[in-house]
Symmetry: C2
Subunit: 674 residues, 2 copies
């Protein structure tokens, strides 16, 4: 098993990966404190020969009782398959490149959250060459903005070789930034005070992409400079027609130098992962390029990145990519991962022979082509229901229930699922437009939405405004942090901002409260204390029985925020809420957050479970407001068994009924949720 | 409101749309029985002038109390904005095209599930011209396969105009199928016995794309034929160098004729939606092009579709598209929708001036560029738990529970959420590889997965094989029909096929059964009848109390499949299962399907809810096997209150405990599910 598996810093799965490492994978934590240490050492140790790679494979598998990841295995298979292929020739236009080891072959894949898989000579350094072009193009975009750059460098593919001297004479600019003419013009746009500062900006940006400090192969640079006559010719032609400005020789030096930056296949994978991650290096968290320009850089790679093989690349591989005559290829699956290959033998187009083959097979085998898609059939609305059918977890008194029984259907909840993008948002809008009549509140339950793109959020925002004009308020619940942030960013100051709820329950309670306030505002008053006879579990008792029960009860009052029941306390009594409101808070698995399991209004009994199974309290019950309770200890209740058997039966029976009610309700909820 | 909204046939939202139509939208059902009737009429009625479009807008809005869709409104805004733009010139290379009405302007959007939004002159017919090229290319791919076609027509963009006479001399083929040279070569590849049959195949395919029978504008065809000298020159040059074969004049006639096929902007939108929907027309369900070639057609459109504006199109719009000199543009957002524009004034590249502007604005405003993506942060595993923490709904006897208490943690459940694609599958594999040690079963709960692409399913399949080799069985539950079909299609005969379960509960029960069978096979035997004293709710009774209770009980036996409790029966008794097994089946909201709410094993009591709240049974309980029960009617139980008050207390208390147990368990489940 020769692939290596590294986790990013702060990866929650870190311990997991350590476990794997100790049980046999050659996994290890990347040394982010000195990110370049390992690479430099590895380069120093020189390059393993193919046979040695096999040895490593054999050595490691013998220690592998753990489950292997298919991704690593597939990369291994790909590597082994094409290691045997020796087609293509080393680049020979400068002497230094002919000194490369033609058998070198490294492959690396870095996910957009920073996981690296790599195989073979993935840490061997080579010069980046033309792969520098799209990245410097990004820097020019940052320095001047897209329209200024577009006026100086076109974006049309030419079908010609990388060193073509043909220009777009109609627009007096080079055709695109991926041919040498366009790349030289692009580099000429990089700002800075003198050549040192300009190059420092370039190298610094490349280093942010790679997540480690990169350096230049000075001998390759010198060699490129001393032999780059054609590029000088191109540059002077451009100067002659006003496409670029002086100092031409400085621009050329910068260009030769950017091409001589040393990277490994792993660096290329990480650079590509940075593009896949919207310009943010997923390991270091550093911004290599502003997110707004990533799309443009990827577009130019997609249309012109592979020289005069670009069309066939789109046809066969379908990932934005860039190759260099140093033998590298960088490819991006936006939002998902970056891929880097190094093998210095080139085909007739100047692309790495093995690199192209590996990318073709990877794309075909994993169905990674950008148009490999068949998700038209998503059904965005999982189910919908009215407020009458499901209510918030607040256990309400009879008067409030009456309002909700009548008006609850004015709340319409859509449980969404899958991904929100243009097509699924359109489905949702269609549903809402058809069903909004007579509805006061639409709640979108987004907890099953993994992803929402901006087009979908824009559509929903505009729908929300339309609904508002028709008297319907739209609320959102349970969005992920990312989606919520995107949603809020789309709101304008005129939009209602307080329409996002943590969960559906809160949203429902909000709607219920507004409905009750509209119809029967006094029902919301929890200050008035209910008499004993109006406690839910005592409703079937006669006045005489109530009178006989009263002396056995205690009475307690609580300040707002005070705990009525404390987790871990002995469970030895039953509570009936006489005034105020209270909530049950349960600590979630992670031990940090609380969630509201239920909320009580006057008349409701709680703590009754304990009568049957005793033990300790498993949740806090907290007074939301000033509250009062009637309390029946189980000790007193058991005494009633002898003293007042009929009263005892009634209470036991009422508790059984309460439990069966709640069980029915919770079971229905499980059914709804499942 | 001048946009019109049509539903596809069999749309479940049909009634909704009708409602909207009657409340003011100019919505109507497309007449699919005679799909072309309306179009022909509309074309006959001639074209509304801009002023008239405004009138329609005014007329319709005055009837619109319903909520309006932002999509229709945005299309309206776009249309109104660019209606005022009069840049560009009519195509003039044949006289017929100069007769077009330069003010015509129609826009249509069709979703990949067949919903159409349209505005302006969306039903005016015009000739398809070069938009025919990618579609005929698809036909050539079907006729000869990709490699044969690629050997005859390249896929490289040229940066040259559509009528360029430059060829790829290295490969002796035209550069790509979107320039005239390539398109003529493509058309020459269309199979058929003679020109009529060959053209009938082309026209039939176009009609399947559009979902209606299309026809040819014969005068445009004659005009193209009589003036197409340059195309004849191109064709003879190709014949001369062996790029195409005779009969050249027949190929040219076919080519001129395919260019003269009449379509509307709405047709283009539907054709594009067919490509978005993997080659299947979303309204008629007809296959216009085999799914395997859709990717290739889209790729060629993406790299070469917009003449020498293709690079800038990718840069600015980023959707695969094709334009024609008739003034049409067809654009595709794969998996989501198709877009059609018609406005006959062209820019210098030969593309519709307004069409380009509308597409640019649509793409930018809705963030539809194919690289507008930022979904790297999906967290695919929502939560995971062990079999000990959650169990199947089968209520098991003490002996079985003992096994599961000890071994349940060998079942590991991952609740997935969002979309499964390469990057999220990689996350999942990482989790599984790290946690699989000591696990016998991994259950993937896929009910919250809206979409799974093939790359993800392949990764999971291979992981499943790895796990199997390490003694861990992977099961999947709750997949959508589409995902399940894709999953099964990836399995090879050597894979276990019976690893898909309808829901997690079934999967859990399957695992539990295997664990119990391994440790204590006899515990699974439900044939032996348990004595009364071993019924769960009677365990705390003394032998003497059991003896006194026995005479009040009935005993009943049931055949496998027989209903023990029938929905709607009076709820007047309590059951204790003595032997066999039974399940509770609840009818779901839709009234058609049943779901298993619980399953019982010997010792378990059921039907006890009714004691407290009476009424009718709300679910069936069915004997899964031959089964026997002890039955206590509530009438007898009430008699016990007087006769045997202590026994009565004990039973009531045991039932309360049973309820509180179940409530705790179900509440925990709600907490887990929420």
């Amino acid at each position: 098993m020769s692939w290596r598996w590294r986790s990013k810093r702060n990866d929650p799965a870190e311990s997991t990966l350590k476990d794997i490492a100790t049980t046999g994978f050659a996994g290890e934590m990347a040394q982010h404190a000195k990110p370049d240490a390992r690479i430099v050492n590895d380069a120093g140790v020189s390059s393993p020969e193919p046979a040695e790679a096999e040895t490593r494979l054999h050595f490691n598998t013998s220690h592998t009782p753990a489950v292997t990841s298919p991704i690593g295995r597939w990369l291994n298979e790909l590597h082994a398959k094409y290691q045997a292929v020796n087609d293509g020739e080393l680049a020979n236009y400068i002497p230094e490149l002919t000194r490369a080891n033609p058998s070198h072959f490294g492959v690396a894949l870095a996910t957009a959250d920073g996981q690296i898989y790599e195989v073979g000579d993935s840490e061997v350094l080579f010069t980046i060459q033309s792969i520098s072009k799209p990245l410097v193009y990004g820097l020019a975009l940052e320095d001047h903005g897209p329209s200024a750059v577009l006026s100086r460098v076109g974006v049309e593919p030419t079908g010609e070789a990388f060193n073509s001297i043909v220009m777009d004479e109609v627009n007096n600019r080079p055709f695109n930034p991926m041919v040498n003419a366009g790349a030289i013009a692009t580099t000429s746009l990089v700002k800075g005070d003198g050549p040192e500062e300009r190059f420092a900006r370039i190298l610094d940006m490349f280093s942010r992409y790679a997540g480690r400090k990169l350096s230049v192969d000075e001998s390759v640079f010198e060699s490129e400079r001393s032999t780059g006559h054609r590029n000088r010719a191109i540059a002077y032609l451009q100067l002659n027609s006003g496409m670029i400005q002086e100092p031409v020789l400085e621009h050329l030096d910068l260009y030769f130098r950017q091409c001589a930056i040393l990277v490994s296949a792993r660096d290329l994978a990480m650079m590509a992962a940075t593009l896949a991650n919207n310009g943010v290096n997923p390991v270091t968290g550093e911004v290599a390029i502003a997110a707004e320009h990533v799309k443009t850089v990827l577009s130019v790679m997609a249309s012109c990145g592979m020289y005069d093989y670009s069309g066939e690349w789109v046809y066969r591989v379908g990932l934005p990519a860039k190759s260099g005559v140093g033998g590298g290829i960088l490819a991006v699956l936006p939002g998902q991962f970056g891929f880097g290959v190094f093998s210095p033998r080139l085909d007739a187009h100047g692309n790495s022979y093995r690199g192209i083959e590996v990318c073709k097979e990877l794309s075909q085998r994993f169905y990674l082509h950008v148009y490999d898609t068949h998700f038209a059939s998503d059904n965005i609305v999982r189910r919908s229901f009215r407020g009458g059918a499901v209510t918030s977890k607040r256990l309400r008194g009879a008067r409030e229930r009456k309002v909700l029984d009548a008006a609850g259907s004015r709340i319409l909840v859509y449980e969404l699922q899958g991904g929100l993008y243009f097509a699924t948002a359109e489905q949702l809008l269609r549903r809402m437009a058809g069903e909004a009549a007579g509805v006061s509140f639409i709640v979108l339950d987004g907890r099953r939405i993994g992803r929402a793109d901006l087009s979908a959020l824009l559509l929903i925002r505009d729908m929300s405004r339309s609904l508002w004009e028709h008297g319907t308020t739209m609320l959102l619940a349970g969005l992920t942090e990312q989606i919520k942030a995107d949603w809020l960013a789309l709101q304008e100051s005129s939009d209602l901002k307080d329409t996002c709820f943590t969960n559906v329950d809160d949203a429902l309670e909000h709607c219920e409260k507004l409905l009750i306030a509209e119809s029967d505002p006094l029902a919301l008053d929890t200050n008035a204390e209910l008499p004993l006879a109006e406690m839910d579990i005592l409703r079937k008792l006669t006045a005489d029985q109530i009178g006989r029960l009263a002396p056995h009860l205690e009475y307690a009052s609580y300040a707002a925020g005070e705990r009525i029941i404390k987790e871990g306390d002995p469970a030895d009594r039953l509570y009936m809420l006489a005034s105020g409101s209270a909530t049950v808070n349960v600590r979630l698995d992670d031990g940090k957050r609380n969630t509201r399991m239920a909320a009580f209004r006057p008349g409701v009994a709680f703590g009754e479970f304990a009568l049957f199974d005793g033990g300790k309290r498993v949740a806090d019950v907290v007074a939301e407001t000033k509250a009062t309770c009637y309390v029946l200890t189980f000790e007193k209740l058991e005494r009633l068994e002898k003293l007042e058997p009929e009263l005892y039966h009634r209470i036991l029976f009422a508790l059984g009924r309460l439990l069966s009610d709640r069980l029915r309700r919770v079971t229905a909820e499980v059914r709804a949720l499942s």
